[in-house]
């Protein structure tokens, strides 16, 4: 599978989805003007990945900030992960960022995927 990457910008997160090396991460800030447009390719990539996933898929979210439109799309990503066997989420938050920790816990409540929480 082709690697999907996006350089992080002022209003978009950095993305690396790499099947061969088993590395899946979205990091940085997410407040794009059109979040459906930005996350569309990520969701499509996951649809393809679902057909031949690695035995384990550790998906890292290392977000510094995301807006509410992005949160809806993050939930869509998590819903895709629900249907991938061996998928789990590692939710990173800055150690003094309680809001980001709580946001992760809320996502964990909404989907049937296991979450690990780590500080950075």
């Amino acid at each position: 599978m082709e690697i999907l990457t996006r350089d992080g910008g002022e209003d978009t997160p950095k993305v690396i989805l790499d099947h061969n090396n088993g590395f899946f991460e979205i990091s940085g800030r997410s407040l794009p003007e059109d979040s459906a447009d930005f996350y569309g390719p990520i969701l499509e990539w996951l649809d393809k990945y679902k057909d031949s996933p690695r035995p384990e898929t550790e998906f890292n979210f290392k977000l510094e900030y995301f807006n509410t439109a992005s949160s809806k799309l993050i939930l869509d990503i998590l819903s895709k992960l629900e249907s991938i066997d061996g998928a789990k989420v590692v939710w990173y938050y800055h150690e003094d960022d309680e809001d980001m920790q709580e946001a992760g816990q809320e996502f964990a409540d909404l989907v049937d995927v296991s979450f690990d929480f780590k500080t950075y």
Binding site: D34, T68, S71, L75
Partner: protein, 186 residues
């Protein structure tokens, strides 16, 4: 030229650190955010307060951007400009916005904001989860219907709002969100 001094005095009296009036776009949003961030960094603002202010600013600014073109379609006069302000006082940041909206939105906004203000911290959390789970996809404008709920959660205070009729088609919608600068234990 007196209006310059008058405007300056108003800004000082209201502790406004940032005022933007005009057309709102994603590019303007990014610039306004960058200015506010630099301002907060310069005074060494607490990072959790800084994040909350940033958060509320984004939702507020993107709301204006998303709904600006509705006004252009219905009213081709100079009513499509909006205003955005950040005030900094000893104990709080005050984030205010004012933008024209079509009159058919007034009731819906009033009801939604009143409902949000009727909820406590736990109620807002449940409402947020309910909307994110049950709203199918984003609106045509790319909104998730979560902006005001998120602003209320980050603020921890009631949202203050007002609608001033402009003409038979549009009203001016003012919204004020307060972020306390005192770091709370919870």
């Amino acid at each position: 030229m007196k209006y310059i001094y008058e405007l300056h005095k108003t800004m000082v009296a209201r502790n406004l650190i940032l005022v933007y009036e005009g057309e709102f776009t994603q590019e303007i949003t990014k610039s306004v955010l960058a200015m506010a961030e630099r301002n907060m960094d310069a005074i060494g603002e607490d990072s959790s307060i800084k994040r909350k202010v940033f958060n509320v600013m984004v939702e507020c600014l993107q709301n204006i951007v998303k709904h600006a073109d509705e006004i252009e379609e219905i009213d081709l006069t100079d009513h499509n400009a909006a205003i955005f302000m950040v005030g900094k006082q000893e104990d709080k940041y005050v984030i205010t916005s004012g933008n024209p909206i079509t009159n058919d939105k007034v009731k819906m906004l009033q009801d939604k904001l009143a409902h949000i203000n009727s909820l406590d911290k736990e109620g807002l959390k449940e409402y947020y989860k309910d909307v994110i789970k049950n709203n199918k996809g984003l609106s045509a404008k790319g909104g998730a219907g979560l902006g005001f709920i998120d602003m209320a959660r980050k603020s921890g205070q009631k949202l203050q709002f007002d609608f001033e009729p402009i003409n038979e088609n549009i009203s001016f919608f003012s919204l004020k969100t307060v972020i306390r600068r005192v770091v709370t234990a919870d």
